[in-house]
């Protein structure tokens, strides 16, 4: 049988066991990154998802070129992930309860937030207000998308404004922090949720460990930015294993019903 190496404890895991365990290491409980489609599949009720905002797509409006053009990077990301952007948004049900759900994908240009992520979150927020259903966003992002310059920074303000309207309308908003969530996403809609859930061993910070290391000229503590440290510091409400996440979300949604 094919084996997969846990990226944390380095032990071999049967690929079948790995997948059945939702890409969580059965030995050390390390939660490996999963894509937005897989996340959707394990989170919402079968056949309940209807995508919205799909036709909103990225353009290279700055003609950004570093060592590769932004257009090429977008094409590559679309091919490698099968997604149209770094977030999928839509309406779905969890244990029968309707919700507006957004799921980010770190595989799509590091889950970076550009104009499309911002716009899809705005559309998702509007949908949750229109239908008066709770909003849940799974976050995974390295931050703002540099290839869209300062316009990507503005998506922080844009998403915050959209989220504010959701809250003003008396709708609960829950964010789920998955590994990694940092930069512009963590300093905007991710941290403004009524309830913040983190997956085990997920990195959740504004400045990443590399940047911190440059500033303080030494290695940050090994648990820097990790869910467990964030829980201790009061930055998240709870840490929930991937296997339990659907049930916990359903319980929370029921409390607000």
């Amino acid at each position: 049988m094919e084996k997969i190496k846990c990226e944390n404890c380095n032990r071999d895991i049967d690929s079948e066991v790995f997948l059945l365990n939702l890409k969580v290491c059965p030995f050390c409980n390390h939660h490996h990154v999963i894509g937005a489609m897989e996340r959707l599949q394990i989170t919402v009720d079968d056949n309940s998802f209807v995508e919205i905002g799909k036709n909103v797509s990225s353009i290279d409006f700055l003609n950004f070129f570093d060592v590769k053009s932004y257009s090429i990077r977008l094409k590559e990301a679309r091919l490698s992930t099968g997604l149209s952007e770094a977030i999928i948004a839509g309406e779905a049900r969890i244990e029968g309860i309707g919700l507006a759900i957004g799921i980010m994908d770190f595989g799509f240009m590091g889950g970076s937030m550009g104009s499309v992520v911002g716009e899809r979150i705005r559309i998702l927020a509007n949908h949750s207000i229109e239908k008066h259903i709770p909003l849940v966003i799974f976050c995974a992002s390295g931050g703002a998308r540099m290839q869209e310059g300062t316009v990507s920074l503005m998506q922080m303000a844009k998403t915050v404004s959209s989220i504010n309207r959701v809250k003003e309308n008396g709708i609960p908003y829950i964010s789920v922090i998955t590994n990694p969530t940092s930069g512009g996403v963590s300093a905007s809609f991710a941290t403004l949720a009524d309830i913040i859930i983190a997956e085990p061993n997920s990195l959740f910070c504004f400045a990443g460990p590399r940047v911190i290391k440059q500033t303080i000229k030494k290695n940050p503590p090994p648990d820097f930015g990790m869910a467990e440290r964030n829980l201790k510091n009061g930055q998240v409400d709870m840490i929930v294993n991937r296997n339990d996440l659907k049930g916990v979300l359903a319980n929370i949604l029921r409390l607000f019903k």
Binding site: N55, V56, S57, I59, F61, L62, N63, F64, F65, D66, V67, G114, S115, V116, G118, E119, A144, R145, M146, E148, G149, T150, V151, S152, L153, M154, Q155, M156, A157, K158, V160, S161, S162, N164, R165, S182, G183, G184, S186, A187, S188, F189, A190, T191, L192, F204, C205, F206, A207, V211, I212, T215, I216, P220, P221, F224, G225, N233, G234, Q235
Partner: protein, 323 residues
């Protein structure tokens, strides 16, 4: 949108192209070859040199703005406060256990009207810079700013913010205290207040730490200030993976006032004295004062509801995409 393509600049392009040109010269000397092909090839190569040179020039120009925006002689937040507001009182502390000197917050009067003033404090000499942490805010600073914004909102005082920061302070303590949440909350609060909020980028507008004070009804940039999602140095390190990309990054990130007004990220460019604000700091302060007085006057005619909804609509419509 009509942003010119930034073509790739190969390393050592001059050497390569000059090599190709001299090869052409040699080929030309061989009898029986028609000259037409040579001329085309020659033109292409020369064109290439020209376009690479142009990109380098543009990148150099953008970099010059970055350097100007960081110039130590530029007026800083305190200079504007001293030159513009009467009876200014500085307020300290976030009431949650901390005080951050890198962000100034207080109340003062301009044109007879009380306003709240909040801004990044960079400091001038090295001693000051260390004391003020180079204008890099911590959660305590953003929370102090939130406290003063709420106070202003309660009494209907407009808020003026001065932005001048390399970015939020990246260290372990700031992160442990919730840097991300503090910035997010500041942004959120600026959408909640019912009073006019005017944001002026006076120097460096570094990423989330800048945005945390910059959700203005009107966002203005001094002509030689910058506003960027990441520093040119940081961007070059990530995308170019080498420091040679710093100037190219400065150009590519479109962080100048001229680019950002076209992208509708900012609403106004405030002109600077010839050569930059550092050449005539007092005049710069006067120009900014005039801008503040005029803009406050404009917003005094708007209703609370309109002020709040206009601000949200402006930011929620930002971005470029196909749909």
């Amino acid at each position: 949108m009509d942003f010119k393509r930034m073509a790739e600049i190969p390393k050592n392009y001059l050497k390569e192209i000059l090599g190709a040109l001299s090869k052409l010269e040699k080929l030309k000397k061989i009898p029986f070859f028609s000259g037409i092909h040579f001329r085309d090839a020659e033109r292409d190569l020369n064109q290439k040199i020209k376009s690479y040179k142009k990109i380098e020039r543009d990148a150099g120009r953008a970099w010059k703005v970055v350097e100007l925006s960081r110039n130590e002689g530029r007026p800083q937040c305190y200079d504007y406060i001293n030159g513009i507001f009467d009876n200014f009182i500085s307020l300290s502390g976030d009431r949650l256990g901390g005080e951050d000197k890198s962000i100034i917050a207080g109340l003062g009067k301009v044109n007879g009207k009380t306003v709240a003033v909040i801004g990044h404090n960079k400091g001038r000499d090295i001693q000051e810079r260390v004391e003020y942490n180079f204008g890099m805010g911590t959660p305590e600073g953003y929370r102090k700013s939130q406290r003063v914004m709420r106070l202003a909102d309660r009494f209907g005082f407009p808020i003026i913010t001065f932005i001048d920061t390399p970015g939020a302070y990246p260290d372990v303590e700031a992160e442990d205290k919730g840097q991300a949440g503090a910035i997010a909350k500041s942004i959120s609060l600026m959408f909640e207040v019912n009073i006019p909020l005017i944001s002026i980028l006076i120097g460096e507008g570094g990423s989330g730490g800048a945005l945390a004070l910059a959700v203005g009804n009107e966002v203005a940039m001094l002509a030689n200030s910058t506003y960027s999602v990441i520093s040119s140095e940081g961007c070059a390190a990530i995308l170019w993976k080498s420091p040679t990309g710093i100037k190219l990054a400065a150009k590519s990130l479109r962080l100048t006032s001229k680019d950002l007004i076209r992208l509708k990220v900012i609403d106004r460019i405030i002109p600077e004295p010839f050569g930059g604000a550092q050449n005539a700091p007092e005049r710069m302060v006067k120009i900014v004062k005039k801008y503040i007085v005029n803009t406050l006057d404009k917003y005094s005619r708007f209703s609370k509801e309109k002020i709040k909804s206009d601000r949200a609509e402006k930011f929620e419509s930002m971005g470029f995409f196909n749909s």
